[in-house]
Symmetry: C2
Subunit: 201 residues, 2 copies
């Protein structure tokens, strides 16, 4: 396709490297950027370079941070003694937005995936053991995703931490709010029934 | 929301300025860029700056180009004498991809929209008249979109060019391939019936 000038084609190609952006969206976005008169191209370019320069891992929980410690690890109003383990920063954000957790986090930056050659040494798993002793952790909440790989990773963490004397819990897997049982997959319904909660006796 | 470091929040905000990218997509894209080890951030930043620096309007058809003349206006294998008028570069690309047109283009860069204060002087409409004489154009194909504004713009061009002695045609409006009449809107069906083509007599 040689319809657009080379630098524009190049920008379109760069946009298709982003997740969820195909050829059509990339073209639309690139044309939009080109037409924009409000400095969008420069602002976005500057942000891209700045983020790569400034952002590093929090030394404690491995979330992204522009300091040695992230804002949550620095926050002394948060409860100590409980760590929530998530796969990535996006999962951590989702939990924060739910406003239902006030403890600390540990970001693994991935899941175990033997087929893709991703083992424990590729994740921030080893560092977890040290934290539990050092921070006197009483409970570890496994909040990896309910996928095959997320479950495998959760199981691995359970094995790793058993014997250390810490409570390990898994977030409830079940039917999401606002959904319809009729359209729910069997595995979810199985988890939902198995994990039922007594409401009166 | 102060969960992410400032430079990351800033990148997310920049991404939300792009069309079709909301807060959630922007977050996903920004985190992806941050994790990417293959120079995505730098490549994208460079492309953004380069495109703004290099791309200008073709002096003849006003399509985006990195030269004074775009690749289509430079191409002497293309038919002279027929101009296809489109609203923007994206429309021109769609027609090129259909492979059904071998003439020249004229890109208006917008549509008439009195409510938004967009008049003929804001579009590349005036330049059209000069081209018709200079390039000895026999036919003008109106390929603005079948929206209220696109139709208004097409009508305006018809008025503007009547009397110059050039054939003016409008692309066929009708039922798209692969669609179902049952789910088609009345206006499209009306156009489709009105524009019916005799196949045998």
């Amino acid at each position: 396709m040689d319809i657009y000038p080379k630098s524009l084609e190049n920008l379109i190609q760069q946009f298709t490297r982003l997740p969820g952006i195909g050829q059509k969206s990339a073209t639309r976005v690139a044309l939009y950027v080109l037409k924009n008169q409000k400095g969008l191209a420069h602002d976005l370019a500057r942000s891209l370079l700045e983020v790569k320069e400034k952002i590093k891992f929090c030394q404690v929980c491995f979330n992204f941070s522009d300091n040695d410690l992230c804002s949550i690890c620095r926050d002394n109003r948060r409860a100590n003694g409980v760590i929530c383990i998530v796969e990535g920063p996006g999962d951590q954000l989702a939990i924060e937005e739910s406003g239902s957790f006030n403890g600390r986090y540990h970001v693994l930056h991935g899941v175990l995936s033997p087929l893709d050659g991703i083992g424990p040494e590729d994740l921030k798993i080893g560092e977890l053991v040290g934290r539990i002793e050092k921070e006197d952790i009483k409970e570890v909440i496994l909040a990896t995703n309910p996928t095959t790989q997320g479950e495998t990773t959760a199981s691995y963490v359970v094995d790793l931490l058993s014997g250390i004397g810490v409570n390990i819990s898994r977030i409830a897997l079940g039917v999401p709010m606002g959904s319809t049982l009729r359209y729910m997959d069997p595995a979810t319904l199985r988890h939902s029934l198995k994990g039922r909660v007594l409401v009166s006796s």
